[in-house]
Structures are given as C-alpha cells and as structure tokens.
C-alpha cells in the first residue's frame, strides 16, 4: 500500500505543508501528489494529454477550491465509471460545509473537519490513514499540554 500515492487537493500553501506534516507524524510514507485546484485534480485523476491518470489510494479533497470547487470534483468522480469507487475524504472547515456536502448526497467516504488543534488534526489523520492506507500503528500523539 505504501507505494500508492495520496492525492491532496488543496489550494492553501500552509495547509499543504501542515497536511504533509500530519501525515509524516502518523508514519504515512505514501508519496503525496498535490493538486492546487479542481481542474488540476480532475486532470490528475482522469489523465490529461500525455500524462496518464493517477489512481491514488485516497483523495483528500478540500471543498473550497479555485476554478472547480470540491463539490463539483466529487460529483464528477462519482459520475464516472472509472472513479466511481475512488475513496475520497472531504476536508471541511466547518460543520456547514459538511452539512451541505451531505445535502448534495455526493457520496464522500469520510469527512475530516479540520480542527484548530493541530494535535487533534494529527489524530484524525492517523485514523483515516489507518483505515484507507492500512497503517497499523499510529505513532503516539504528544500530550497536548
């Protein structure tokens, strides 16, 4: 499993860096492919021109993205036979976003509401890592003093 990439769809520089850190902390060794907006994400998943389609272990999908937003990316993934079963974890900033995604019935496999507490965030990442990437031992999360 550790060879299969993770596709992180995220436009925020800091969030990319922090997600990488969280994954690292949890001992996820999979390569991380980053798409900066919805169009890049779709190009990556369906292939564009000479570049072949990437089949990631899991897509970590932010909802607010330039050009094509996360809702639309997910809708297109679910509408296509090739990507219908692709595991997708939505990264939401608020419960509202999650409510909206639920309302659309878009069929995300999981949601991560980005908590403000980075330690909590790492714990959540470890959880879905364990589930989607088969990491068996999340490293100990430092005690949030």
């Amino acid at each position: 499993m550790s060879g299969q990439p993770i596709l992180l769809v995220e436009d925020d520089e800091d969030d990319v860096l922090l997600m990488r850190r969280a994954l690292e902390r949890c001992g996820v060794a999979n390569p991380v492919v980053v798409a900066r907006d919805g169009v890049e994400a779709l190009d990556c998943l369906f292939g564009a021109g000479p570049r072949p389609a990437v089949r990631p272990a899991v897509v970590l999908l932010d909802l607010r993205l330039p050009r094509i937003d996360g809702f639309e990316v997910l809708r297109r993934l679910r509408a296509d036979r090739r990507t219908r079963l692709q595991p997708v974890v939505l990264l939401t900033s608020s419960n509202e976003e999650r409510d909206r995604a639920d309302g659309y019935g878009l069929g995300a496999n999981s949601y991560v509401r980005k908590p403000v507490d980075f330690n909590e965030f790492s714990a959540v990442v470890a959880q879905f890592g364990a589930y989607w990437l088969g990491i068996n031992e999340p490293p100990p999360v430092p005690d949030p003093g």
Binding site: D15, F118, G145
Partner: protein, 487 residues
Amino acid sequence: MSAFSTAGMMPHGHCYLWDPGLVRLHVASDVLIAGAYLSIPFTLAYFVRRRRDLPFPWIFLCFGLFITACGATHVMEVWTLWHPDYWASGLVKAFTAAVSLTTAVLLVRLMPKALALPSPQDLSESETRFRVLLESAPDAMVLVDGGGAVCDLNSQVERLFGYARGELLGRPVELLMPERFRQGHVAHRAGYFGEPRQRPMGAGMELFGRRKDGSEFPVEISLSPLKTGRGAFALSAVRDISARKETEAALRRSMADADAAYKELETFSYSVAHDLRAPLRKIDAYSQALLDDYGGRFDAQGTDFLQRLRRASQTMAQLIDALLNLARVARAEPRREEVDLGALARSVAEGLREGDPARKVELVVADGVMVQADPRLLKDVMENLLGNAWKFTGRRPRARIEFGVLRGPGPAVYFVRDDGAGFDPAYARRLFSPFERLHRPGEFPGSGIGLATAQRIVQRHGGRMWAEGAVNRGAAFFFTLEPEGER
C-alpha cells in the same frame, strides 16, 4: 224545461203600459249602466297588468266579475221589456248575488291585511330611513336594478369615485369599474340576479374600481339582494382597500428585506467560520511545530508562551463556533417531536458529572416531562442551562441543581435552578445578550453566547426565556415552548 217556462207571461213593458217615455227612460238608463259596468273590468284589468306589484290582485278579479254580473242584470232588464224571460233574468241576478256576496265576504276578510298596507306617507318615511341608512354606511353604497342601472347611491360614492350623484343615476354600474372588466361584468351581474344572496363579490379576486378621472384603486365589494315592490335590486358596498394593500406590500417588502438580511448573515457567518478558523488552525499548527521540532531550544518560559499561544487560538476557535451556532439557531425552523425533557436533562447532567467527577452536586430531575419540540435544539438549551448551573456552582463545596416544570393556567414553564453564584437581578435581561458577562473573565470560564443561543431556540419554538436570581443566592432560568395565548 217546463219549470222554467214563461209561456203566458207578459213582457215587462206591459207594466209600463208601453208608455213610450217611460220605456225609453228605463232602456236608456239600463243600457248606460250596463255600458259603464262592463267597461270597469277592462280598466281594472289594465291597472292590474300595469301594476304588477299590486298586493292581492285576486280581489280585483272578484270586483271585475261582480261588476260584470251587475252589468248583465241591467242588460236583462232591457231584454225583459219585450221578452218575458224572467227565469233567465232571475238566474243572472242569482249569479250576481252569489258573486257580490262572495266579494263582500272576501273584502271583509281582507280588511286587516289591507289596513296593514303602508300608506304613501309610510312609504316615504321608509324611503327616508333607507336613505339615512345608506348615508350612514361607512362604505360607498350603490343600489343597482335588475338591468344594471344605478338607482341610488350615497355620498361616499361621490367622494370615492369623483362622480356627482346626477352623473350616475340611471347609468350602468359598469361605469364604476375599469374598461377591461365592463363587458364581462354585464354577464356577471345578470348572473347574480339569477342567484341573489348576500356574499362578497369576486372572493379571492383582485377587484378594482375606476374613478371619474380614470385612475384605478383596489376595492372589496359585498353584494346584498334587495327585493322590493318595484322589483329586484342589488346593493353593493364598495370599500377602498388601497391603504391595506399598501401595508401588505410594505410588510412583504420588509419580510423580503429581513430574508435577505438573514441570507447575508448566513453567508457572513459561514465565511467567519471558514476564514477565521483557517488562520487559527495555522497559528496552532506552527506553534506545535515549533514545540515538536525546536522544543529543546526553548526554556520553560518559552515553552509556556507557546502553550499560551495555542490556548488563546483554541479559545477563539470556540468563540467562533459558538457564534456560528447562534447564527444557525436563530434561523432554524424547529421540527417538533415528542421529547422527554427529564431524560434529556439527566443525560446532559451525566455528561457534566463525567467531565468533573470530583464535584459534589445533588441533581434533582423531574420525571415524565414530555414536550413537543426539536430534540437537537432542546439538547442545546439543556446543555447551556445545566452547563451554566454546573459552572456557577463551582465554588460551592456541595451544590444542588434542579430541573422541573411548573404547570399553571398558561403554557407549562420549565426551569433549571441552582444554588450557585447567582447574579444581580438588575442585569437579568442583559444575561441573554451575546458576549454579555456579569462575572469577571477569570472567575468562571465560558463565552457568554450560550444563553443567547438558548433563548433564541426557545423563541424559535414560540416560547420565551427569563431568569431570576440574586448575588450568591443562586439562579433560576425559566422557559416555555409555546406561545402564551395557546393551549
């Protein structure tokens, strides 16, 4: 036949000894009488035909018959001067007698009813009364006959429509409405006379009147049938409803405005949640990164500063979440289901106890308090109220928190009471403003948005929330879940 034989009898002329003067006198008088009598029924018939509204027309028939019979007896008088047909003339008399008697009896029997008929003076008095009534009506009243012509109106009509009385009398009522309705209306009103009853006109339709100057205005019209001796009429009461329509439009506009404001608030709070949380997340994450990667290079104070930095960002995140929740609740449409408030209170209290097992708090919860309310929203209310009670009894070695219900004539009143720090009653109202805090920040933790949220939830259910308390004497929060008037 032999019984009626007049054989051997003499013509009546013999009685007058055929004196030419006397015979002529009788013949002339009888003929004139008969002529006059026989003409009277024609005049009566003409009268009855023209005055369809006459009461008791049959009595005229009796009179007609009676006078015709009388006339016939006089004809017989002339006949018998030369022809002794005394049986025939007697029978005509007998018939006349019968008709006269019948008429006489019927006339006597009719008298009470005839006396009850209004005199012309009465009629003009009732006319006056009708006019007074018409004038005193607040609405513009138009009396219309079966042909659609205006027969009467009050001065409110003149004022409302701008016509003088004389310009309307005898004109079709359609003059008072916009052209586009006129043609159809002729049939409408004709239909009304087929089924006349008191009812609103065009119920559920937008009706318009038209002034003399051509301007239109919205109206409401009610119709009443009026049957008189002179035929069937319809009385229409026209009310100008421009003012009401304007108020309604203004209300709709301000509701749309409020809606737009809500939408804006929704977008705003969504952005707040999203955009304000993102930097906080980064502050926390980078602080943690500093601790993780450079922890060894900070001394105890440096580490402490970083921890404080993280706590501050988390407090702010909680504030944002509470504000967001308040905004959500303020626009929530409660879904009513049966909720066991007592059970809800118990489970919330259990959660509080688990979070702080060392506290000695006596919990008294009323059982069987069933309400129709939104369970998720009510959980928020109970969490806030019980959470507050828990918090403000924190300084008591032993505390008591009670949930219960007061049942009286009005809606049931639910309450959460504690014996904690309480508050100054002068500030009872301010408790419910977001961010209001009556205690010093360090004294008790919390944001102060919770009570505002709880009150908003209760209001969304149609109820209200209020507080009673005294400094160091504890606090009690009361709420209802339905409007005061109901039940």
